[in-house]
């Protein structure tokens, strides 16, 4: 009896459980669908598809019992899809398009925009209008031409007839009422104006008018400047009498007789590998690329090396667990916690050759040894060597706390009995460090060193804030500086140092090329250090 109750309770509990699970799933699916629909309507269909895929995936793995192991991975996988894979795929997709400042719109958007353009043809008339409205809310205009001519009475798309001698006029000669239309005063006209569409045409034939987009109370005979001809897939400029045919391989409407002439606004198209071709044949790669690459590797390797060595020294020096050491370490971590956007500016001040503290110090030391350096020495920002040294010092200062932390932790994980055994065997301090501490440490820290190398290789922010890659190199075919990394050099060339045209497609292609370069280096490094395998076998 008692067992029966427990069983039935368990049963009802599991029914409740299953019910709850389905309810949660239904809510999840609903949220997913709403988000997807919203994204579709906003035009972000790629992300919408991804959300749909994820939602379906969730529903399947929570319904199918055999997919249970996947349930634990699912949040991670979903986040991976949205935040890692999606940006990657988008970048790759962008790289094959011409998306950018001049080619940001879609073809229909460009056509629509140009079809809205108007112009006043030669001899066209301008009118002062009075707005009329009938009980149904229809709007009509009483048009008095500027200069000679008879008044017209028009509604949207047609001329209205009226008998001029049967109407009552006010003092300024404007009718008070025509049929069931009543004249509006200026204030009422203003308030009614919002109901008139921007493209509304009043009247018919050659005297059809549109409301002026510059003056209130004025209407003009305007013609449509561009018309889209579907058959030719072309925009026709009615004012100039030119035809611009769409060229979907470049995303522009081009005058077939003169390729130089085109509609200035382009549209997005897929252009295949042309972005890659463009980069690989660009003057950037004919410029001082070799010297920049050499410096790029030097910078990345030395930055990691200095930061690691300094971090290790600090970690070893303050490894004993006293309150003073803890306090000091806390101080050492500070450079790492402040955003380097701020600290680089402070360092810039310290290095300033005219009034910077460090420059003053260096100059004082030189004077102590009898040199006479003069105003503005050392030339931190204007001499290649000085700039590079100062940059490395600054960058080391940012990065060493990270390695200090890592090393402190890794050092603690080395068993102390190993050291005891070594001491009994008579190994001295250096030998112990050389054959035990360092190899054991590198096992843990090795992958981090490689990761840090990759970060430093693309350390755009530090370079740009420090000296924008300067000082400039003399007599090169493309502008480049002695501290430019590949990334800052390409940025300056492709985007004119900001403020220029944003060519996202081109930028994505460059990113992919730099990524491939970096991935190759990293893979080689990992292989070289054999770290994955060794660590893997020890797990």
């Amino acid at each position: 009896m008692a067992t029966n109750t427990t069983e039935s309770r368990q049963k009802s509990l599991s029914v409740f459980n299953i019910g709850l699970r389905y309810l949660i799933l239904a809510i999840l699916a609903a949220i997913g669908s709403i988000a997807a629909i919203q994204l579709f309507t906003d035009g972000f269909w790629q992300l919408g598809i991804m959300i749909v895929v994820i939602t379906v995936f969730f529903v399947i793995i929570f319904i199918r019992p055999d997919a249970e192991p996947l349930r634990w991975l699912s949040p991670g996988l979903a986040l991976f899809l949205v935040f890692v894979l999606f940006p990657l795929v988008s970048t790759i997709a962008f790289a094959f398009t011409n998306y950018g400042t001049t080619n940001g719109l879609t073809k229909p958007q460009v056509i629509r925009q140009f079809e809205q353009r108007r112009y006043a043809a030669e001899g066209s008339l301008s009118y002062t209008y009075t707005m009329f409205q009938n009980a149904a809310g229809d709007i009509a205009l009483w048009l008095v031409p500027d200069g000679e001519g008879d008044a017209l009475f028009v509604s949207e798309g047609e001329n209205l007839s009226f008998q001029s001698d049967a109407i009552e006029y006010d003092d300024s000669g404007i009718p008070v009422e025509i049929g069931d239309y009543v004249a509006l005063n200026r204030a009422d006209t203003a308030r009614t104006l919002q109901q008139v569409s921007d493209d509304a045409t009043f009247g018919e034939g050659e005297h059809a008018v549109q409301l002026s987009r510059a003056r209130f109370g004025v209407a003009s005979e305007l013609s449509q400047r561009y018309t889209y001809d579907e058959e030719q897939d072309a925009l026709i400029d009615n004012q100039m009498g030119a035809t611009y045919v769409a060229d979907d391989s470049v995303g522009f409407f081009i005058n077939p007789e003169n390729a130089e002439e085109r509609i200035p606004v382009g549209y997005q198209v897929v252009i295949g590998f042309r972005n890659f071709e463009r980069f690989l044949t660009s003057p950037a790669l004919r410029g001082p690329l070799v010297s920049i690459l050499v410096w790029n590797f030097t910078f990345a390797i030395l930055s990691v090396l200095f930061a690691f060595v300094l971090g290790l020294i600090v970690a070893l020096t303050f490894s004993e667990n006293t309150w003073l050491n803890k306090f000091l370490k806390l101080g050492f971590i500070l450079p790492w916690t402040i955003p380097n956007v701020i600290t680089i500016l402070i360092w810039n001040g310290l290095w300033n050759p005219l009034d910077g503290a460090y420059s003053k110090l260096i100059s004082d030391i030189a004077q102590f040894f009898g040199a006479n350096p003069g105003v503005g020495w050392p030339p931190i920002y204007n001499d290649a060597t000085w700039a590079r040294v100062a940059l490395l010092v600054t960058n080391t200062w940012f990065a060493f706390p990270y390695f200090m932390l890592i090393c402190s932790g890794a050092l603690k994980s080395i068993p102390s009995d190993l050291y005891e055994a070594a001491m009994i065997d008579g190994a001295n301090v250096w030998q112990r460090f050389r054959s035990m501490t360092l190899p054991l440490l590198l096992l843990t820290v090795g992958p981090l060193l490689i990761g840090s190398f990759a970060t430093n290789f693309n350390s755009f922010q530090v370079i740009y804030l420090f000296n924008k890659g300067g000082p400039p190199i003399v007599g090169v075919s493309t502008p480049a500086g002695h501290t430019d990394l590949l990334i800052s050099y390409v940025y300056k060339l492709s985007f004119g140092g900001g403020g220029g045209q944003q060519e996202f497609g081109y930028a994505a292609a460059i990113t992919i090329i730099i990524f491939l370069l970096l991935a190759a280096i990293t893979a080689y490094n990992l292989r070289f250090m054999n770290i994955w395998e060794e660590t893997g076998e020890n797990v």
Partner: protein, 414 residues
């Protein structure tokens, strides 16, 4: 298997960090500006929000629409407008600096407008918004740089660069190796072509040749005779020790305020700090040499979003509510920069600003053509090379011109 497990573990670990990283990122970045919920929306620099709201309120009352004025930045023009406008989330009217017009027009983001009363504006201002034969904006302020001097040290404004050199030589005659004890005449910061341009134009140099259709991207003037003459002049000045090395914007202004530099070139944005410092200063036209010294003009104006559903109202708002004596005065009062409206220019009561405006009368609008983006880096490098590294001025400027031509040719092929 162990290896696979390890990779999986690392993957999962990085997953668990991800949400944190993403959350931090979104916290740090401010949300992009979104269109307010109103019939008619205007985006403008923070200094002008209140003044524009008042103009907008009047418009709202007359036309029975709701008007919202939102604070925006020039950065939004680069980054938010291109995304928001095509999605229908952009403002109806927004402010911009005229040199962004090239990008805005080729991106299809602004609609041509009719200027009802072009004679009401300074000619240079209204022409700055002329692009490919169409007008795109209603200008409201003009910015340019001028020549500032310390009256205690330089009582009379020098009319030519020759005179500037003579005064500088006199002031710097006793200079030694200690920077702090030195005094200088005319000083400028490193690089910075914007502030070098008046020197270049004084010797007959230019950036792009000016034709009837606007700036000609195929005529690069950095290597022209006049530009080389200016580069030579400046290289000599540096060689004489009249210009200390490594001066940046902050140090330059500190030197001027302390009386260590007697003459500098700067703009109205530095007026506040210069006034506060109490230095006895005066503002005059930029020195001439073979020609007058012309600064770049930066014109701010309102443009109409080409995706706006209210093109007609936008045109009426700009022509009949913004381009009026009262509104232009209110905008000037809100942020004291050189006005673009003739009646306001005449009514300026601030002597400094009048002097700056006078220095810009012959100024040249900053080129808005896309090719300009290819100029800055090479030009900056060239000035740095002669000012900071003592390189040969002719070779350096000629090389810079070649660099610019290469880059323009490359960017136009695509």
């Amino acid at each position: 298997m162990k290896k696979a497990l390890l990779i999986l573990a690392v993957l999962m670990l990085s997953m668990s960090v991800l949400p944190v990283v993403v959350a931090q990122d979104t916290e740090e970045e401010e949300a992009p500006l979104e269109r307010a919920d109103a019939d008619f929306v205007v985006w403008v620099d923070s200094n002008y929000v209140d003044a524009m709201q008042e103009i907008g309120d009047q418009f709202a009352a007359d036309f029975g629409v709701t008007v919202a004025v939102q604070e925006s930045t020039l950065g939004d023009v680069d980054n938010v407008i291109p995304v928001a406008a095509p999605a229908g989330q952009g403002p109806d009217v927004f402010f911009t600096a005229h040199d962004k017009l090239g990008n805005l027009v080729s991106g299809g983001l602004v609609a041509p407008i009719e200027i009802a009363n072009p004679d009401g504006f300074a000619e240079s201002a209204v022409n700055a918004f002329l692009y490919n034969g169409d007008f795109y904006g209603i200008p409201f302020s003009i910015e340019n740089i001028a020549f500032f001097r310390n009256v205690d040290l330089v009582p009379e404004a020098p009319a030519t660069w020759d005179e500037v050199v003579a005064i500088s030589e006199e002031l710097a005659a006793d200079n030694g190796d200690n920077f702090e004890e030195n005094s200088y005449g005319f000083v400028r910061q490193g690089g910075d072509p914007y502030h070098f341009f008046p020197i270049q134009t004084a010797f007959g140099g230019y950036v792009f040749g000016l034709t009837e259709e606007g700036y000609d991207p195929t005529d690069v003037g950095i290597g022209s005779e006049g530009s080389l003459a200016a580069a030579e002049f400046w290289a000599n000045y540096v060689e004489e020790g009249l210009q200390p090395p490594g001066v940046d914007w902050d140090l330059l202004h500190a030197m001027f305020e302390d009386g260590q530099a007697a003459m500098i070139i700067t703009g109205p944005w530095a007026l506040d700090r210069i006034r506060e410092s109490g230095v006895n200063y005066a503002i005059s036209d930029l020195p001439a040499e073979t020609e007058s010294g012309k600064p770049f003009l930066g014109v701010w104006g309102f443009v109409v979003n080409s995706f706006s559903e209210q093109q007609m109202l936008a045109g009426i708002f700009l022509n009949e509510y913004v381009a009026t004596d009262e509104s232009m005065m209110a905008l000037y009062e809100a942020n004291k920069r050189g006005p673009a409206w003739n009646a306001t220019i005449e009514a300026v009561d601030d002597a400094d600003l009048a002097a700056i405006t006078s220095a810009g009368i012959e100024g040249l609008a900053m080129p808005a053509i896309p090719a300009m983006a290819q100029v800055w880096t090479a030009w900056t490098d060239a000035i740095n090379l002669i000012q900071e590294q003592g390189e040969d001025p002719d070779a350096t400027f000629e090389n810079a011109a070649e660099q610019i031509e290469t880059l323009i040719a490359e960017s136009q092929e695509n």
